[in-house]
Symmetry: C3
Subunit: 396 residues, 3 copies
């Protein structure tokens, strides 16, 4: 066992990382070494926890969570990660707080941060809002720290915004690494990130954007497919293109699920709303135009219904590499005949990969814990070595 | 002090218990030794805590709570128990989560369990639903654990379902043990579990069912009394009958509060809804029949109002053994002239036993903590010995 | 560093304090030594925490919070303080609990307290209710402790009631001590606690009452100013008068913001509702008179609007001592042109003192933690020495 630990630690030492005291908002703002370090530390934490080693490196301290959208799995992943390290989650429930009463973001950000180590924010509903809000909080924290209001500058973790969903995409990447054996083996593999039909309206774009924004960095052949009108944020498309070039992979957009699935090693079929619809939604929301929002929903649902055939089914799966591509999903999936009449994925396909999607999700608490350690400790390898040497029992 | 500890520990060692890695759903699914072990470990935990010994045997880990019904005392008992042992309560608030959006129980059960040691569930509103839901969660956890999704299989504690309320009935039993001196002294004692009038409608059947399902195992003479129509779940009645036979006690059903109270050592007067009304409620609820639910409430309240004379009053108490039976209640009681005009118990009677009902309730955190230790550690006596030897201070 | 610690500790030893096992409801119920001890312990906790020393003196235990009013900063301060010492906040959310269903305060107070060390209560909306409620809880806890229901008697901290806001006023005092150098330097300083215009209605009186009820004890010249009709609770005025006399300071009431600001060393301009309006509000609330409440709001807002000129602006600030009085606020402030059209303070003034108001707020978690330590440990100096000697690392 010790050997595995030593090997992973020695890899960290070789990396050049500047994660310390930086927020984690978008994966493409981080270097390849930094991405690798997140994965490595996550692996080590998993290894230590599964060997019943205490990972408590905080004796007190808050991990604030701000969820501006419903969430089960991300909320639990964040709580799990914080608890693993010894931090206490304090929910910033805006309905309970005075934010609703016109209090400024700047002030509140400081008021909730006196004893806070980390702030996880989920704000993914409206394009142009979530990421901007996180940056506003970040500036407020900088201001408070610089001026002696805060004794420490809490880090911010993006738990899903309008642009990226880094804790998801990094869990997905760690899943791929474990499934295929290493990051290196991903080179040349084809991943199909495709739109899929769902009876619901307005699912965020952050997952497909996060996937193409991350997977294009590892020499993969990334194919994005969606029906006309369902394009993503242009800036992210540009990033994906450039990264694919740099990494020796490729990035292609197509209008056909069949094309994308063909010979794919990995498929990620998932519904999302058209970027233009989301932009209109933001405008209507800002203007409190409820009728407009209803009309838009009606329009979007009727647009959706043209593409019920965008379903991940057994026939399509047969066309993938050896008929056995890895199916991925961030969950919950809309499963035809289970959670809805027509959905993103056929029941038979989902059932075959169900356990794998659960395992995929299981990396998230470790990814978040890794982010916290990397953001809050200058020498994460030292902290991890200390934890292993201390060998305090987690349970018992 | 040490002597008491050693005596209790030595009793545990003599028991044959299979509580480890089993869920705790119904008391009658557990052997007598297992019931005794729950009580013993609870006693030891109480002893150690009151001597300011740290009971922290988890350095991290979640204790998930799922409350599908309002709760103060059980919520606080669960939180107290978890915190005592070092676990962090994470509330699975269904209104905040995506469960409401058609996500399957199977998936969610795994998603909330990656770092989870224990899941406490309260779901007592509709017959046929609560216990079945717990079993569904249990199967999902088995599936996840078997397939490598979960590194540990969290235990499930029934915090009240449609059938049983084991944390309540075991606290009640521990109260009786302490009040009368030992489990053995309970033999031959008469306990009257009787219906009582309340102005509210639809109180769950789990408390009376839990009481007759547990107290019939200790050689007690259990008399269940209720007005016509207020019968309990037939399966539980059968269990109570059989257990009474086996334990050398008796189980009798009568239609008279007077009869039940006569010469009773213990009385437990409490309102509940007729089983048939609860069954109709479930059907109407499943069909979203709001008018039907209103009509049923009206009918049930009018049925109730025929039995306002089912009140635990001083005259009735005089007819009990030496006029001094122990009055029990799971709280909150409907107290005539205090919380309502006519209720389950007369003000004077309640006030006399008020402190005792509080003490009765005070065992619950220890019962829950005992369940957690017994379900999660193979050798609870070893854990308890370690805690005592470590003698780490809880406060100071 | 050690020197500072030793100096502070030696000061504690010299004080005569009876804070142990007493609730903290109103500052004027505490002696001067006790007030000083709260400040001193808060300073020491701040010093130790900022030197990364663990302040964990509880290995388990609940810190219950009961917020009957919205709150961000007090909620986070309480959570931060509890977490710093090793306690777990358990929210008593009345909407989730059975309190709403007629359960008595007495019973609930015991039910939530079996493993509880401290109960923080915020109940500031209606005069005659909040403080009375806290006392009712206190009596219930006394009763439960005396009768063996509770193994320990939890302390109660007033997190804002209708009469006082001690955690706020003591944070303010600690801010003044640090800003001016010592408590002694406050002697002879003029503080203007003045009403200020706000577009909102019904802000509690506890802050101005708390300020005049505390600052009059340190030889300051306290001037309270408000427009006709906005008087405070007469009993608190009496207390302020008497204390000013005793401390060698002065207490004056005026009807002019200009008068109050003139030559002031400190200004605290803040909106509040007239005492008589609050009294009517309580009556209407008790009688569920919704129309009456609406009419009262309309009346109060129209009364308010006569005094839009009660704004803390640059011209007024120029009239203060050397034109540079310290501006204070409990936050959030109503800032003209920022959070509202006309408010309590001009944008330019607020911006100049913004960071200082944040720093002022930052003392609150330490004040609360100090209260907890002083209320729960007989010899706080011993506990603090132990923590320093143990020198366990908080983070790392």
């Amino acid at each position: 066992m010790e050997t595995k630990f030593k090997k992973l630690i020695s890899e960290i030492v070789r990396l050049s990382s500047g994660l310390y005291q930086k927020d984690f908002l978008l994966t493409w703002e981080k270097s390849n070494d930094e991405i690798k370090q997140i994965l490595l530390v996550a692996e080590i934490l998993k290894y230590l926890r599964e060997n019943n080693i205490s990972l408590r490196c905080f004796d007190s301290g808050l991990a604030v969570s701000i969820f501006r959208d419903q969430s089960t799995r991300t909320r639990f992943s964040y709580a799990s990660a914080a608890n693993l390290l010894g931090l206490k989650v304090q929910d910033m429930d805006e309905s309970k707080s005075q934010i609703a009463h016109g209090e400024t973001v700047r002030e509140t950000a400081n008021m909730i941060s006196f004893f806070t180590e980390i702030i996880g924010i989920r704000d993914d509903k409206y394009p142009g809002i979530g990421n901007a809000y996180m940056k506003e909080v970040a500036e407020a924290l900088d201001d408070g720290f610089r001026n002696g209001v805060l004794h420490q500058r809490p880090g911010i973790i993006n738990l899903q915004c309008d642009i990226d969903h880094p804790t998801q995409s990094l869990s997905d990447l760690l899943h791929l690494e474990n499934y295929f054996g290493s990051l290196e083996t991903l080179k040349g593999k084809k991943i199909a990130m495709t739109w899929a039909y769902s009876p619901s309206y307005g699912k965020p774009l952050s997952v497909p954007q996060g996937i193409i924004g991350l997977m294009t960095r590892f020499g993969m052949n990334v194919e994005l497919a969606y029906p006309e009108g369902y394009n993503l944020k242009p800036e992210v498309i540009e990033i994906a293109k450039n990264q694919a070039k740099e990494s020796g992979g490729s990035f292609k957009i197509s209008g056909s699920m069949e094309d994308a699935f063909k010979d794919a090693d990995i498929v990620y079929p998932k519904s999302w709303a058209p970027y233009s619809v989301m932009q209109q939604k933001t405008e209507l929301y800002k203007n409190n135009n409820e009728q407009g929002l209803k009309d838009l929903e009606k329009y979007a649902l009727s647009l959706n219904s043209n593409y019920k055939n965008w379903e991940c089914n057994e026939n399509l799966m047969k066309t993938t590499k050896h008929g056995s591509a890895l199916y991925m999903h961030c969950l919950p999936a809309d499963i035809s005949g289970v959670s809805c009449e027509h959905g993103e994925v056929q029941k038979e396909v989902f059932e075959k990969y169900r356990i794998l999607t659960y395992i995929e999700a299981g990396y998230k608490p470790y990814i978040i814990a890794s982010m916290i350690i990397n953001m809050l400790f200058k020498e994460p390898d030292k902290i991890l070595r200390n934890l292993q040497n201390r060998a305090s029992v987690r349970k018992g």
